[in-house]
């Protein structure tokens, strides 16, 4: 009788790539719910659009490349990219924004580089940066938190406005973006940045009524939501602690030093940590395994680099938030980091060299 042959091990852990991706998507749930709570259903609609676009794009390209796309779709990596991108897009941007973004993310950043596992850059972030540069107005058009808007909006409204530009009641996006006092709303980071250029101090800026009314709190809540999801990922060992911890620590330290130097011009570490996409970036974006460093020490450097760049770009750069730029910059440094942070292999201690030399000498005799 002949038997089937295979190479060992013949036994495997149950978790597959698809499982991993689905777990990460699941872990975004608290953050997503809070984001919907505060900013409306827009992101979910965008996720639907982006998700479909992502799957279709991936399938088409793989078909052209003559690969088995069914299996590739099942690993959910395209869906995850779509989700992350959808979460970064202002909720009521037009539908084509997420379509263009997703096509770019999957088609160019991921598949043109060779598909899953070969992309140098984080697809969601690269697409976000592309959108930000191409459509700066739309991409900074964040709505005020849900509770602040004069118009109620439901999922249908959200879909309507995304596809037509108007709510079912005929409100335009611009009207929705108006605050109760008629000011155009933006993200806290954006506002502080603008105020600082208008020679207000940080404390003066934060004292504005919008903050008091909960703009800042809403963003903080969303961040806390993603933090919770991230902690879950750590617990189930879907990600390792190195990147989030070093990234957040680097941000806190850098921001802390700046604040100590001049608290009027620089915002507090807590403000940095709990505004913008910090937590989403720390736990869900920077930890993308494909484009991150792969050694433990390398991950520490990678995370710290991202944290530093975020603070630098937020403080001195042209854009209010900087997760995407920081991640892309550090993506480029990954090969270098990996090369210089290789762990010491078993039996390669320096004193062992002596032992080996001694043996060589003996053999030489």
């Amino acid at each position: 009788m002949k038997f089937a042959v295979a190479s060992s091990p013949h036994h495997r852990a149950k978790r597959s790539t698809g499982d991993l991706m689905r777990l990460v998507m699941l872990a975004t749930l608290p953050g997503v719910i809070l984001q919907i709570w505060f900013f409306g259903w827009g992101n979910l609609v965008h996720f639907a659009i982006a998700g479909i676009t992502a799957v279709v794009t991936e399938a088409l390209i793989l078909e052209v490349r003559k690969r088995d796309f069914e299996r590739a779709i099942k690993d959910c990596s395209a869906l995850l990219t779509a989700l992350l991108l959808a979460l970064c897009i202002p909720p009521f941007s037009p539908w084509w924004v997420s379509v263009i973004g997703t096509v770019f993310a999957i088609g160019i950043v991921k598949q043109l580089y060779g598909g899953l596992g070969y992309n140098v850059f984080n697809p969601a972030m690269a697409a976000y940066v592309m959108l930000l540069i191409s459509f700066p107005v739309i991409m900074t058009g964040w709505l005020p938190p849900y509770s602040l808007t004069p118009v109620s909006h439901n999922p249908l409204d959200a879909a309507w406005i995304i596809f037509t530009g108007f709510t079912t009641d005929g409100y335009s996006l611009e009207q929705l973006r108006m605050g109760i006092d008629g000011h155009t709303m933006a993200t806290p980071l954006d506002m502080v940045k603008t105020d600082l250029t208008q020679s207000l101090t940080v404390s003066e800026s934060l004292a504005r009524p919008e903050y008091a009314d909960g703009l800042s709190t809403a963003w903080a809540w969303v961040n806390i939501g993603f933090l919770l999801g991230g902690l879950y990922l750590l617990k189930i060992r879907a990600i390792k602690w190195h990147i989030p911890v070093s990234m957040l620590a680097a941000m806190a330290i850098a921001a802390g030093i700046l604040m100590l130097a001049d608290s009027d011009r620089f915002t507090s570490p807590l403000f940095h940590l709990l505004s913008g996409g910090t937590m989403l970036g720390a736990f869900f974006i920077a930890t993308d395994p494909v484009s991150a460093s792969t050694t433990d020490r390398g991950r520490l450097w990678f995370g710290a680099g991202i944290g530093l760049w975020i603070v630098i770009i937020r403080t001195w750069g042209g854009y209010p938030d900087a997760i995407a730029f920081a991640v892309l910059v550090m993506n480029m440094a990954v090969p270098l980091i990996d090369y210089y942070t290789r762990p010491r292999t078993y039996g390669h201690r320096s004193e062992h060299k002596k032992v080996i030399r001694r043996q060589d000498e003996q053999e030489g005799k």
Binding site: A4, V5, A6, S7, R67, D68, R71, A72, G114, G115, L116, G117, Y118
Partner: protein, 184 residues
């Protein structure tokens, strides 16, 4: 006057740089790693002469002097690739005029038929055939490069080229039935 100063200045500069360059040329002179040796290292050393040269080293010399790199059937594609890397040229397919790549073989003498003519001994480029006149000859398998050169001289055609059989020690994990199927 100004022109003169300029000329002198430039002349001096030229002199200084010339000296510096000359010194550097001597001080940091790189002993050229002889190209022929490097090529010879890559060639399989079967000494079969299929390339048209009497041995691997002459071919290495010819390559160094600009001959084609695709004339070595025993080395096959792997050797051509390595040579291409070394010479900085495009890898080409093997020149069929010189033979085709084949599995590794060694010579085997059917000893009953051997008449002991020593012709193969004289043909063997690496002295891998043992024997004497009127004595049956035998191949030292470990030394045989599989060059084929002993086959033609044999007047009684008692030399076969037999493929080297795989053994558990030289087996290279060819698990053909294993399902290593690739998606990407």
């Amino acid at each position: 006057m100004l022109g003169l100063i300029a000329m002198i200045a430039l002349g001096l500069l030229a002199l200084v740089f010339g000296i510096v360059l000359g010194y550097a040329a001597i001080r940091f002179r790189v002993e050229g790693d002889p190209l022929v040796d490097q090529i010879d290292d890559i060639l399989p050393q079967t000494q079969c002469g299929q390339c048209g040269y009497p041995g691997c080293r002459p071919y290495a010399e010819a390559i160094a002097n600009g001959d084609e790199i695709n004339k070595c059937p025993p080395g096959g594609e792997a050797t051509i690739k390595q040579l291409a890397d070394l010479m900085g040229v495009e890898a080409k397919p093997l020149d069929a005029a010189h033979g085709e790549e084949d599995v590794k073989k060694v010579a085997f003498i059917r000893e009953d038929e051997c008449i002991g003519c020593t012709k193969c001994i004289q043909a063997c480029p690496v002295d891998a055939i043992l024997g004497a006149a009127k004595q049956m000859h035998t191949v030292i398998v470990d030394e045989c490069t599989g060059c084929d050169l002993c086959v033609d001289p044999c007047p009684v055609d008692c030399i076969d080229m037999v493929p080297v059989e795989p053994t558990p020690t030289n087996w290279r994990w060819q698990l053909e039935p294993i399902a290593i199927k690739q998606v990407q």
